[in-house]
Amino acid sequence: MINSIILVAATRLLTALLLLFSIFMLLRGHNLPGGGFIGGLIGATGYVLYAIAQGAEATRRALRYEPQNIAMVGLGIALAAGVFAAFFGDAFFTGQWWFAGADPSDPDDKGLPISSVLVFDIGVYLVVFGSILTLVLALEEEV
């Protein structure tokens, strides 16, 4: 769209930064403001900027997967995170947790928590990310 090498390079960088920031927001969400939805929105913003700078076609190439597939896979991941509890005899959407490297004697040391809840939030992230891009790219190709 805009034939400026500097701008192209700048948007690439900006997109990468926004993606990183979005993942940061996603991961911290359980304890501080943030989470899958906010993260997904920020991540999508990165690609929206990319699309404005480089066009929809290039963005689709950069994404590699169709955004609506990403969204649907996200939905599937979120669902799987809920169904996962079945293996442990729990109800739908019961959180399953592992605390990697946690000190069992200290209740406040949770080590590195890995949980189905996080997987669920990743699903949310992908859904939001994919859906926004589906919409924006389709609109951009329209105009």
Partner: protein, 120 residues
């Protein structure tokens, strides 16, 4: 503050109803944005307002130390905002497409599904 919010919600609702009653469907969409905000504020205010204490649990504590804001309505509002966004995005696309295909935004002129002469 709750009562003032109630009055403000009333103004938002009145403005959006007024917009929704217009024949131009784009104005309906504007009304939709406003009324979604109003509904979110209704839920938010229904949980009662607490200034300056977000529902976070400080590190080292098992529960909030002092009174924090009602978290449940916040979660509901979040859900409602996102759902509202999804619905709005679709509605906007629909209005956009309809304009291109039917050539009008005036709902009076949208008479394809229900033609003038009904009945035999």
């Amino acid at each position: 503050m709750e009562l003032l919010i109630a009055i403000m919600v009333g103004v938002l609702v009145a403005a959006s109803v007024y917009l929704m009653l217009a024949r131009n469907v784009l104005r309906f969409l504007f009304g939709l944005i406003l009324i979604s905000n109003a509904a979110n504020l209704i839920i938010f205010a229904s949980g009662r307002l607490t200034p300056e204490s977000p529902p976070l649990i400080p590190a080292g504590a098992d529960a909030p130390v002092e009174l924090v804001a009602n978290a449940l309505p916040q979660a509901l509002v979040l859900t409602a905002i996102v759902i509202g966004f999804g619905l709005f995005a679709f509605a906007l696309t629909l209005v956009y497409r309809t304009y291109q295909n039917l050539g009008t935004l005036n709902s009076d002129e949208m008479r394809l599904a229900e033609p003038e002469e009904t009945g035999k």
